[in-house]
Point group: C2
């Protein structure tokens, strides 16, 4: 079934909006809109309003730039967290990923991206100045560079290290090694090589 | 990444709404919402409003029950169409499918479903009374039963035929046969058997 003509412009508009999302084609978009139409009107209203509220109500933390309902996010405003340890991440998803480990009690700094010449993203597009400002203001002991283990992540790590190594703070990066559950036979040689080089004393 | 904690309730609400749609899991929902967040706020507003308008503005044609922006749909209000030929379809998608063939110049009657005991849908759940009302009112020459070639479609066809055969109108169904482009070798035996039984004189 192609969609040469829609019986309703409102229907067509909604289908076009859904089809503009990544990974959703026009057929799927149409199916989703039909699902909404079959639902209770109250539920459809709630769906639409959740998107409008997202548009109107969402804040970005003025300290770490994490997504938030308030001007300062719940992590930065939590007095139990150690604000002298800053975990530098690419985006909000990565904040959530680190939070889910429940291993980190410091605070974050969301860069808003990663250096990627192929996508035209350079250091000036990232929130590096405000990170440097935090270091200049003092009180920071450690900066954890928690970026992806990709070419872009490594480039950004290197850039940040060169730019910030003159401040007297500890700069660390995430350990690279064999992922938990991985079999050695299927681990790529770069990862395995790195895991060998960075080998640790055996701990019981 | 699991989603034990969201940094924002608005974000969580929007993810939950997307995840309530069929075929969209929580990870996909999160990805879609993040896409919206990265967009221009104006676009996000338009997305949300397209859903709200769907909820508030959509009509169902009071004659054929097709979806419409007005009380009577563009097909029923088109004087060039032959209102003495009614094509009975299951739903709005099927109206669009038949319209896309550009082979039909009559009008429609949307049943709003199909008899399916397994889903608990009986004749009383469908718009059969209003269809009978149209026949009783007169002026109808032909009723085309354009339902799916499934067990449920055949059951509904049979039910409608038994209920409506006393009115002096022609009742037809869609031709069953080998689909265009299908190879005989891979055509199932029921379809092939039906195509043989219903064979037509060769037309040049």
């Amino acid at each position: 079934m192609s969609f040469t003509e829609f019986p309703s412009r409102l229907l067509e508009d909604a289908v076009n909006e859904f089809a503009s999302l990544p990974g959703i084609g026009r057929k799927t978009a149409f199916r989703l809109v039909m699902t909404l139409l079959r639902r209770d009107p109250e539920e459809v209203r709630r769906f639409g309003e959740s998107i409008l509220k997202l548009h109107e109500g969402i804040h970005y933390c003025s300290i770490c730039n994490n997504i938030s309902d308030t001007d300062i996010c719940s992590i930065c405003s939590d007095e139990k967290r150690d604000s002298s340890v800053i975990c530098v991440v690419e985006n909000i998803q990565d904040v959530m990923a680190v939070e889910n480990t429940r291993q980190f009690r410091g605070v974050y700094h969301v860069l808003g991206g990663i250096i990627s010449p192929i996508d035209g993203i350079g250091p000036s597009d990232l929130r590096i100045d405000s990170l440097e400002g935090k270091l200049r203001a003092g009180g920071i002991k450690e900066l954890i560079l928690a970026l992806s283990a990709t070419m872009e992540g490594d480039t950004t790590n290197y850039y940040l290290y060169r730019k910030l190594c003159n401040y007297s703070i500890l700069i660390t990066t995430l350990a690279r090694g064999v992922a938990i559950g991985d079999e050695l036979e299927y681990t790529d040689e770069i990862t395995l090589g790195r895991a060998l080089t960075n080998r640790n004393p055996y701990q019981q």
